[in-house]
């Protein structure tokens, strides 16, 4: 689905979409409380794709989950389409917040979580971030804030594919010791294999990980997962999937 949409569009961000799609599938099909017939149901769990550039994965999951029809998915990034390279909450059902500018999503999620607490609502808020994204200072403002207000209905998830546009995260602007950083901000942290569905589903079973603390899941992933020539290659962050590469990707996905 993602491969078709990316090929059709002739542009987009394949790498981070393939690294994060398993997490989104786990959330939408085994973790979050949602109703695709009533996308604005008040008690629903909220998902915010802070790394908005993985929209093609998000749209595909929304389509599988019944929020979006397959035909619209194929208009991804086409002229006049509702499906932008970064999701617009007013154009796509099931999208909670318009994202794409890195470093905004965790704060937005914290606001939603705080609003839920004020209204004594039971919903939980899941925010998926890129690892490179957390180089934005505002992420750490949000991290501090969420702990201060004891937002244990907030779950941050890091797609830790260890690559950003210009290269390896550790080479560009080191994040390690990553777990320790989040822990020092008062978050309760768990690390999983972000492509192992059992681990993905299990980790979200016991939220909050600790009462009174926001939860963080570091999901170790592979950028471009599932497409041989794309795996672990930073150049596939935002490269158009076309020509020979499109054919190989289609074949590999079909064999899978």
């Amino acid at each position: 689905m993602m491969v078709h949409a990316l090929v059709q569009a002739g542009c987009g961000h394949p790498g981070g979409a393939f690294s994060s799609v398993d997490i989104m599938i786990g959330l939408y099909f085994a973790v979050m409380k949602l109703d695709c017939n009533n996308p604005h149901w008040e008690e629903r769990d909220r998902f915010i794709l802070s790394k908005g550039h993985s929209s093609v994965a998000f749209y595909s999951v929304l389509s599988l989950a019944g929020f979006l029809c397959h035909e619209s998915l194929m208009t991804f990034r086409q002229d006049g389409s509702l499906l932008s390279g970064h999701p617009d909450m007013h154009k796509v059902p099931g999208v909670e917040a318009s994202t794409g500018s890195l470093g905004h999503g965790l704060s937005i999620g914290a606001g939603l979580a705080l609003s839920g607490k004020m209204d004594r609502k039971k919903y939980r808020v899941f925010v998926l971030m890129g690892d490179g994204e957390t180089q934005e200072g505002s992420v750490w403002e949000a991290a501090m804030f969420s702990r201060h207000y004891k937002l244990d209905n907030l779950v941050g998830i890091i797609d830790r594919n260890k690559l950003q546009i210009d290269g390896s995260t550790e080479k560009i602007m080191a994040l390690e010791p990553y777990r320790a950083k989040w822990k020092s901000f008062g978050w309760e942290v768990k690390v999983i294999d972000g492509h192992n569905m059992r681990q993905i589903v299990n980790v979200f079973k016991n939220i909050p990980f600790r009462k009174g603390a926001p939860s963080l899941v570091i999901a170790n992933t592979v950028k471009g997962k599932g497409i041989s020539f794309m795996e672990d290659k930073p150049e596939w962050h935002g490269r158009p999937l076309k020509g020979r590469y499109a054919d190989i990707a289609r074949q590999e996905i079909e064999c899978f």
Partner: protein, 314 residues
């Protein structure tokens, strides 16, 4: 009697807390300066302190609005409009979320605090953002009314207020509304168009021009910078042919520019912009700076006379 706009604002916000149960006040460590403290005292559970972190404050406001709250974000105009500019543009204005910004210490009203705390660019920045409503009320009454209409309006609103103390200018009959100018003095010789607290100097200049020079200067207060009252501006331009704009803001991108954008399309009047002439101000108290920038009555009168005199050459 001169009134502190911030005190009046804070008092009114606390008053409105009852009418709007979803109203929440957000603050970044400046509660006394912005007077959000009055809301905190009245509704402690609906007051959210962020510490010194404006970018997070703005995006959390987005999340609170998504959760059905009406967040009102407090800080100095310079920090709201510049430190958190991209957060406002992308996470509030683009999705059209119902968030209000109360930007205090607008213009050079932070005085001797210096350039870091002045905001002479915020009107230009905020009015260039689609979906944003930009208000600059001129006295205590207009501040209260601007707050009321902002809370009734669905969508983002940026309200800039001065930290200075100002006299009342409005009569009881005045009613502020978004997109409408108010005419405080009639006249067809010249139009003085003001925004924010410059309305006071505008009115005094008009009175002086009439009394001492027999010039009838219309005064239009534009407290709603965006949307702007196009019709009143066109009418003033047509009937006077001579428009003077006064703002406590850089003359690039502010009220003067907004008026020029309209008048130049009609082409029936000359416009002279009075404001801060594209420089950072020197060290000085608010009063000192207003004088050095030519934003006091006597200098506005002088500029108006020069402008009228040059009319013959045009």
């Amino acid at each position: 009697m001169a009134k502190s706009l911030r005190l009046e604002y804070g008092k009114h916000l606390a008053r409105l807390g009852k009418k709007y149960p979803n109203l929440v006040a957000l603050e970044a460590d400046l509660k006394e300066s912005t007077q959000s403290v009055q809301f905190e005292q009245a509704y402690p559970r609906r007051y959210i302190e962020f510490g010194v972190a404006e970018q997070n404050m703005v995006c959390v406001a987005a999340g609170l609005a998504l959760g059905g709250k009406i967040p009102i974000v407090h800080s100095f105009a310079c920090f709201i409009s510049m430190r958190a500019c991209e957060q406002i543009r992308t996470s509030i204005a683009y999705p059209k979320l119902n968030v209000k910004f109360m930007a205090s210490h607008a213009g050079v009203s932070a005085g001797t605090a210096g350039v870091t705390h002045h905001a002479i660019e915020d009107i230009a920045i905020m009015r260039a953002i689609p979906n944003m409503t930009v208000l600059a009320p001129g006295d205590a009454r207009e501040v209260r009314e601007a707050l009321e209409v902002a809370l009734e309006h669905k969508g983002p609103v940026y309200i800039r207020i001065s930290a200075s103390e100002v006299e009342d200018v409005y009569m009881v009959s005045h009613k502020f509304s978004i997109g409408k100018a108010s005419e405080l003095r009639k006249g067809n010789d010249l139009a003085i168009i003001t925004t924010g607290t410059m309305v006071h100097e505008g009115v005094l200049a008009s009175d002086t021009l009439k009394r001492e020079f027999g010039i009838n200067a219309r005064v239009l207060q534009i407290a709603s910078i965006k949307p702007i009252d196009r019709d009143s501006i066109i009418k003033a331009a047509k009937e006077t042919g001579c428009v003077l704009t006064i703002e406590e803001h850089n003359i690039i991108g502010g009220l003067g520019s907004a008026v020029c954008e309209i008048v130049s399309e009609i082409g029936n009047a000359r416009v002279k912009r009075i404001g801060i002439t594209d420089h950072f101000c020197e060290v000085g108290s608010f009063r000192y700076l207003m004088k050095s920038e030519g934003l006091i009555t006597e200098m506005i009168v002088k500029k108006a006379l020069d402008f009228k005199k040059n009319e013959a050459w045009a």
